[in-house]
Amino acid sequence: MSAGLIIQIIAILVGISCSTLGVFLVLKNMSMLTDAITHTVLLGIVISFFIVRDLSSPFLVLGASIFGLITVFLVEGLINTRLVKEDSAIGIIMSFLFSLAVILISKYAANIHLDVDAVLLGEIAFAPFHKITLFNRAIPKSILESSIILILNITFVVIFFKELKISIFDRNLAITLGMLPTLIHYLLMALVSITAVISFESVGAILLISFMIGPALSSYLLSKNLKSMIIISYIYSTICSLIGYKIAMILDVSIAGSIAVTIGFAFVLTLIYKNVVLERK
């Protein structure tokens, strides 16, 4: 497999697994929580690094995912005091945990290869070089990881589709039916954190936010039911990854950046199409 093909496969896999969850995040009005999680997992990575002292350990992923959940928990705790509004709660917790991470890094880990920029920006172009052996064949690590995440996310959504749907659109009904919407909510957020942490290495935080929100928003404009919204968002994220990769190759610029711009542009086009063409009919 050529490096270019691998990058495109990774982008498509990550894109689809992000938009699977992104659809629900958009419908629950929690888009900015993704932004918060992508920043605060840094603290999880730092703290679990102090415990295991190994940057390639799987415990780093576990620790970081737990911190994603802690973020959600703290934000909701603040909101539940009814003293702070949702957006302010996200802002406060996000910057607090991120500052702790930066302070810890600069105080105790200044000599270690743990760079704030590297975590936040990520570089998909390097993804083909990290390989692991599986069944006597060398496979890029990111492809394996993102396929596992993709399967995990899709399985979750398929199994809990009814529960997710009802707890988003009518929370009280879900409670009366005994569906435990809070548990579903935390499971969803756990998957968001795990996806964020795994995809960091390959695509970086910014493309992650873009993949979670962009395709879901574009298909939100076009679709009228949940299933078609998920499927249209898959189409969007796949096409945008391919176009964004092509543009990046032609101009020789950041792949993650150009995919993010393509996704944003696709949303603007959809918005214009929706408002100009569909309204006129």
Binding site: L83, F96, A260
Partner: protein, 306 residues
């Protein structure tokens, strides 16, 4: 404390940096109060990330790295962002937070594209453009302070001039309409002020931390009062104290970075206010509930006896 005072008298750099951070703390606190009340506090985060694209565009167009030119580029992108966000939320069913998240990712992506494009141009002095985004409080110069103060005074005057209009448009849009106040214009004005504040702030505090400097002081101040003017004054006091103390701690302990220290102080103000504020705080509310329950029980007990 005495040590910090001595350092303030002796060290020129410390004086400059701490005054700069205090001023920034005050300005962000004042504008942040309106942002928090309008539930637009994360707009700052979005604009701060988006400004990377603006900085790069300004550098590509002019080829210069002077601060005002770069900030002008950031301002341009900031204004484009708020116009786009307002269009999206007015002309579709997309909610505000999704709109700002997409705006953040798209423009930051554009910024990354432009940064990698700049890297290919030979000979350009592009180094340090991305450091602009992560903020560097300790490199503050006196001319930066003048710059921040002038912008701050402009923002303050605008807020004082339009105080009544801004207040009414935030709290009661319909009432504003009956008074003939164009609340859409004032809502845009506040967004515009948020953009300016964020852009002068990012070079000091960095992208992620400027969000907290906008939100935290006013959230803390809000717990102590229900009056807008008191909240604004208290918030700016909190902002100033955090700005100064953050600088002082990081100056006495050179390993600790300034920006994050300021945020830690701000966060402590928030947590303290939420727990201990006399009327709204968690403990205060608990005591109030306890007293009320006791009174009710007492009342019913007496009836039972009679």
């Amino acid at each position: 404390m005495i040590e910090i005072f001595n350092m303030f008298m002796i060290s020129y750099t410390f004086r400059v940096v701490s005054i700069g951070c205090m001023l920034l703390g005050i300005i962000t606190a004042i504008i942040g109060t309106f942002a928090v009340l309008k539930k637009e506090s994360l707009l700052g985060d979005s604009i701060a990330h988006a400004s990377l694209a603006g900085v790069c565009i300004a550098f590509i167009v002019t080829g210069k790295k002077e601060l005002p030119i770069l900030l002008l580029g950031a301002l341009l992108i900031g204004i484009i962002s708020i116009v786009l966000i307002h269009i999206v939320i007015n002309y579709s069913k997309v909610k505000f937070d999704s709109a700002i998240a997409l705006n953040l990712a798209t423009f930051f992506g554009l910024g990354l594209v432009l940064l990698t494009y700049l890297k290919k141009i030979p000979g350009a002095k592009k180094a340090g453009l991305n450091r602009f985004i992560f903020g560097q409080a300790s490199t503050l110069l006196v001319k930066d302070i003048y710059f921040v103060s002038i912008i701050g005074i402009i923002i303050l005057v605008t807020v004082i001039l339009f105080w009544k209009e801004i207040k009414i448009s935030i709290f009661d849009k319909d009432y504003a309409l009956t008074l003939g106040i164009n609340s859409k214009f004032y809502s845009f004005l506040i967004s515009f002020l948020i953009v300016i504040t964020v852009i002068i702030g990012i070079q000091i505090a960095g992208v992620i931390l400027i969000t907290s400097m906008l939100i935290a002081p006013s959230v803390a101040a809000r717990q102590f009062s229900n009056k807008l003017n008191i909240v604004v004054v208290l918030a700016s006091i909190f902002g100033a104290i955090s700005g100064f103390m953050g600088t002082a701690i990081s100056a006495t302990n050179t390993i600790l970075p300034t920006g994050p220290m300021i945020i830690i102080f701000l966060s402590f103000f928030v947590f303290f206010a939420i727990i201990f504020s006399p009327n709204r705080g968690l403990i205060g509310r608990h005591i109030k509930n306890y007293r009320r329950n006791k009174e009710i029980i007492k009342k019913y007990d007496r009836r039972n006896i009679l």
